[in-house]
């Protein structure tokens, strides 16, 4: 559980820490300072030799308290709910060493820190700003504490340099940010030779809303609501991850029944979205039977959600210290019965789909990413498991009641193509249906929320992290409090932020008419990336 035997854990993680490190423990998070010159060595060792997975990299502006910016590199100890986070302090300087050549997945985090904090990663391979566009003043850094969130900025002009491919017969197709379908906005720049994609560069940031800054100013209740809107289709997972961090900072132990309810709702969210995704993948191949039935199954789930919680997206269910919505006996029976019906329905649809040679022909061998790319880019969730990255937060770092339900083996595929991502979703749907049924049987009686939740006191100058396996992949939250115990920084890292970088690789050497299908098989969140 969240509060493990601290001494035992401390012993275990000693093996990961450098000697004479001055380690500070915040619940299940071990932080220690490293000098700028040594950080490459430490991060390289943790990631490349000890094979810890990198969860996120972010910065905090602590100039008021410590007179420094800090940059955090969060790693997870596999199999335990324990996290190691070396950090560097930037006193009287804005330069920090770029580690992107050492660990490629760090690149976008560093670009993000450069753009939003005005810190400079020396020798960074790609110096372009991320998310904020050229109409944004380049000397304004919105996540610094001296930036007032309501500031009206002057619009400036500039030019964004796309990567260019030159050669005879190479032409470019600019697509978006507005698309013909009702999807989120994003620009894709294809360099083409005939119908094949030579290079694909996604450019996002069109739905940047300043969520990270808003987390600093909103009231706690509104922070929960904001976390539900980080990526609307993952409302429950995002708010769960956020609530978990606050619960750690406040030292709250959530009642068991609430943990089970969280598990159930999280799986209902996964089911709805996976149904929608398999339908959308089939629809994009033009297999309209599967497409229509996928949307229908998703809608059935959404209606169940609405019936149980009054919200199709399971919003306003999570709160600090538990959940707001209990399931009484008749609701539990209703849910159990409906899911049995849906499971049967689903298997019938899939039997027909898997019998279609034309569908499988489109799915197989399309949009392949290699295991090497997935490892370099840190590809998460469905896309990662589809190429053999055996990682699932529910198993590796269990939260809610996942430690108490049987999770079995993490489903993985090896091909890394659209079909593999499709198959992973099918397996996860079956698993989720089992998890919900099992949770409904095991759910204990009791409170669903901690009493006296109104007087919430957070630890001062503390840090907390939390991971949740959303339906796309792992959602990570990093939260820091200041000397008064107020939340001073929240970094929600949606899996999309990590996975977008694999899309360019997946598109390579495919033909352009297959790109929408490839993109759909990843189905990443634009808003979760743009924040």
């Amino acid at each position: 559980m969240l509060f493990c035997n601290t001494n035992m854990i401390k012993e275990k993680i000693q093996s990961y820490l450098p000697k004479n490190a001055n380690v500070e423990y915040h619940d299940n998070l071990a932080i220690f300072e490293v000098s700028s010159t040594q950080i490459a060595e430490i991060v390289g060792e943790l990631h490349n030799q000890k094979k810890l997975s990198l969860k996120l990299v972010t910065a905090t502006d602590e100039r008021k308290e410590k007179g420094a910016f800090k940059i955090w590199y969060l790693f997870a100890v596999p199999g335990d709910n324990f996290f190691i986070c070396p950090f560097i302090e930037l006193k009287n300087t804005t330069d920090f060493p770029s580690l992107a050549n050492l660990v490629p997945e760090i690149l976008n985090y560093e670009r993000r820190i450069q753009t939003f904090f005005g810190l400079v990663a020396t020798d960074i391979p790609d110096n372009r700003p991320l998310i904020l566009h050229e109409n944004y003043p380049s000397n304004v850094f919105p996540l610094r504490k001296d930036f007032e969130w309501k500031t009206k900025l002057k619009e400036v002009t500039g030019k964004y340099e796309f990567q260019e491919v030159k050669g005879e017969g190479i032409y470019e197709i600019p697509v978006g940010p507005i698309h013909a379908g009702i999807i989120e906005p994003g620009h894709f720049r294809f360099s083409m030779a005939g119908e094949s994609i030579v290079q694909l560069e996604p450019r996002l940031g069109y739905v940047h809303k300043g969520s990270e800054k808003l987390f600093e100013v909103l009231s706690l209740e509104n922070k929960i609501r904001l976390s539900e809107k980080i990526s609307g289709d993952s409302s429950f997972s995002h708010s769960l991850a956020f609530c978990q961090t606050i619960e750690k900072l406040a030292g709250i132990e959530v009642p068991k029944r609430a943990l089970y309810l969280r598990t159930i709702f999280a799986e209902l969210e996964r089911l709805a979205n996976h149904f929608g995704d398999i339908g959308a993948i089939m629809m994009d191949t033009g297999f309209s039977f599967g497409g229509a039935n996928g949307s229908r199954l998703r809608e059935m789930m959404m209606q169940i959600n609405e019936k149980l919680t009054k919200s199709r997206f399971l919003r306003s269910v999570n709160t600090i210290g538990g959940v707001k919505k209990d399931l009484n006996k008749s609701e539990q029976d209703y849910l159990s019965k409906e899911l049995i019906k849906i499971a049967k329905d689903f298997e019938e649809v899939i039997a027909i789909a898997e019998d279609s040679a034309s569908l499988l022909n489109r799915l197989k061998g399309t949009g392949i990413i290699s295991l090497e790319v997935a490892n370099n880019q840190g590809t998460l969730g469905v896309a990662g498991r589809a190429v053999g990255v055996k990682h699932d937060t529910r198993v590796d770092h269990p939260y809610a009641a996942y430690a108490e339900v049987s999770m079995g083996q993490i489903p993985v595929e090896e091909e890394g193509d659209v079909n593999a991502r499709f198959q992973i979703r099918l397996k996860e749907i079956r698993k989720s249906l089992e998890i919900v049924q099992e949770s409904l049987q095991k759910i204990p009686e009791g409170e669903i929320i901690v009493a006296n939740i109104t007087s919430l006191i957070l630890q001062k100058s503390a840090y907390a992290v939390s991971m949740v396996e959303g339906w796309r992949g792992e959602i990570s939250y990093f939260v820091a409090t200041d000397a008064q115990g107020n939340i001073s920084r929240v970094f929600p890292r949606d899996p999309s932020f990590v996975n977008w970088s694999a899309l360019g690789e997946a598109g390579l050497n495919n033909i352009v008419p297959d790109f929408p299908l490839i993109n759909k098989s990843f189905n990443m969140s634009y808003t979760g990336n743009d924040l």
Binding site: I173, H179, D284, G286, L359, I511, P513, P516
Partner: protein, 311 residues
């Protein structure tokens, strides 16, 4: 009487074609457990578009402006020239198979030009794909009609339709093969599955839709209408050349009524076949399409070979 027949021949295809689109969409919706729009919705869409303002790119030349009229006119002329339910009467000089095939090709040619005319990347690859497909489809198209012409001993479509009714059983296999080849061409030329997805919103996968992406208002209405006409033309050719049951032999009331009755049933069956096809298979990957068109060509070559062996 001739004038009367001519007028019906001229207006029949444009008047009925949106209905066929509506019927196909309705059947598809039902097959997907959806309610679907009214079968007359395509008429309303065209009416709506005809009343909308147009946006034309500053870079568009006369090709872009005139193409909708040319494409629509082509379908009118061809629709007028094909056997629908009247037998051959004097004056149908445009009913030769070569005339029909290459008049339709003029429409395709201008549509592809209009696609590249505005310089949009989508129009460009739409046109490129369309030319790839239609160049390969042309062989199958010509040869399937030629198979029937060889059997009937005439290259006039009315003669073929009339003669086909008395075709002996020995020609069963060549006619079936020729129809197989023709049906593949029908799907390719009218932008249906597995060549193109008429219902897609994914600009990168489009063929026909990508070419007409820059059109709006009246010109878009004409383009949509012309596409519907083309579909009906192909269905009429398929129905009357390969399955000429009940095709009118004289202009008497009884004969014509029977002819209309059979005709409507056949067209409905074609709509149903297309709808079922589009609901049960996925679109093919682009580079698999040439194989399919090649099969169409082979079917017809075999059919022609068989005819000579029979004769």
């Amino acid at each position: 009487m001739s004038i009367f027949i001519w007028i019906i021949q001229l207006f029949f295809v444009p008047a009925l074609s949106p209905l066929c689109i509506g019927i196909i969409r309705k059947i598809k919706a039902k097959l997907q457990n959806r309610q679907g729009a009214n079968i007359f919705q395509p008429y309303r869409d065209i009416w709506k578009l005809l009343h909308k303002d147009e946006v034309i790119s500053n870079d568009a030349s006369w090709v872009f402006r005139f193409t909708p009229y040319i494409v629509f006119a082509v379908t009118l002329v061809v629709g007028f020239s094909i056997p629908i339910f009247f037998p051959r009467i004097a004056g149908f000089v445009t009913s030769d198979i070569l005339f029909v095939v290459y008049t339709l090709a003029i429409g395709t040619f201008f549509m592809a030009l209009a696609g590249v005319d505005t310089g949009s990347a989508f129009g460009g690859f739409g046109s490129s794909r369309e030319m790839t497909i239609s160049a390969l489809a042309e062989g199958g198209f010509i040869f399937s009609l030629l198979t029937m012409a060889l059997i009937a001993g005439s290259s006039n479509l009315f003669d073929i339709a009339s003669f086909s009714q008395s075709i002996g059983g020995q020609y069963f296999l060549p006619v079936l093969l020729a129809f197989g080849g023709f049906f593949i061409v029908l799907l390719a030329e009218t932008a249906r599955f597995p060549f193109d997805n008429p219902a897609t919103h994914l600009e990168l996968t489009m063929v026909h839709e990508a070419m007409i992406l820059e059109f709006s208002g009246k010109r878009l209405a004409l383009m949509e209408w012309a596409a519907a006409n083309k579909l009906l033309i192909f269905m009429v050719l398929g129905a009357n050349l390969f399955f000429p049951f009940g095709f009118g032999t004289d202009v008497g009331l009884a004969s014509i009524s029977l002819s209309i009755f059979y005709f409507l049933i056949k067209i409905f069956l074609f709509c149903g076949a297309i709808a079922v096809l589009e609901s049960t298979i996925a679109k093919f990957r682009f580079f698999r399409l040439p194989d399919l068109l090649f099969i169409s060509f082979i079917f017809n070559v075999v059919a022609i070979g068989l005819i000579y062996s029979i004769k």
